[in-house]
């Protein structure tokens, strides 16, 4: 299966703390994307990292990619209650023609 796997499945932290979510996948990729889904809403694209990139930043988000380990991590720094959501990684596989989503990490930020 090409499907990515996130861990942890659920994460509960206090406001102001950092949150780290991980994603592993099985086959070579063109790029990897992270999305956020608030309750009852559609997914929102956060950041895209290409296979030749190792790290990318966007505001309080930091994404790393290790193609040798076939894994990526999403770090949210100085978390806020509004960051409470599900976070999904999605992989764009070489020779594939679709974006494959993992099962997601549910993040809860307590104020």
């Amino acid at each position: 299966s090409q499907q990515g796997e996130e861990d942890p499945q659920a994460l509960s932290i206090q406001e102001g703390e950092n949150a780290t979510m991980n994603c592993s996948y099985k086959t070579s990729i063109n790029n990897l994307q992270w999305y956020r889904q608030n309750s009852g809403r559609g997914l929102v694209h956060l950041i895209l990292i290409r296979s030749n990139e190792r790290e990318k930043h966007s505001g309080r988000l930091r994404v790393t990619l290790d193609t040798s380990k076939k894994s990526s991590s999403l770090l949210i720094t100085a978390s806020r209650a509004a960051d409470t959501a599900s976070y999904f990684c999605a992989t764009d596989h070489l020779y594939g023609n679709k974006l494959v989503f993992g099962a997601g990490t549910i993040l809860r930020v307590k104020s």
């Binding site: 063109n30 790029n31 994307q33 999305y35 889904q37 009852g40 809403r41 559609g42 997914l43 929102v44 694209h45 895209l48 290409r50 599900s86 999904f88 999605a90 764009d92 594939g96 023609n97 679709k98 974006l99 494959v100 989503f101 099962a103 997601g104």
Partner: protein, 118 residues
Amino acid sequence: DTAVSQTPKYLVTQMGNDKSIKCEQNLGHDTMYWYKQDSKKFLKIMFSYNNKELIINETVPNRFSPKSPDKAHLNLHINSLELGDSAVYFCASSQDVWGVSSYNSPLHFGNGTRLTVT
């Protein structure tokens, strides 16, 4: 000025009925998709269309039939609904066609249609 809009937001119906979900995007994108999200939040692609042409058709029962009257619209018709069809269905769009560009651009999602079959 919603980018990807789908209707209805909620759909409750009985087994055996036929229903449709509509989707429209005003982003000028070439490609549109239908995804199904189950109760465990697992998101799986069902179909994708590029400029009204079907390019991805996953293993989906043929009771599901997508229709794209133009590149800004992709509707989903479901015949003979079953209990297992209960899920949230998401429409999405993107600029690029999978496999044509050197990478695949981000997806823009609608807010979903929660289908409940009783």
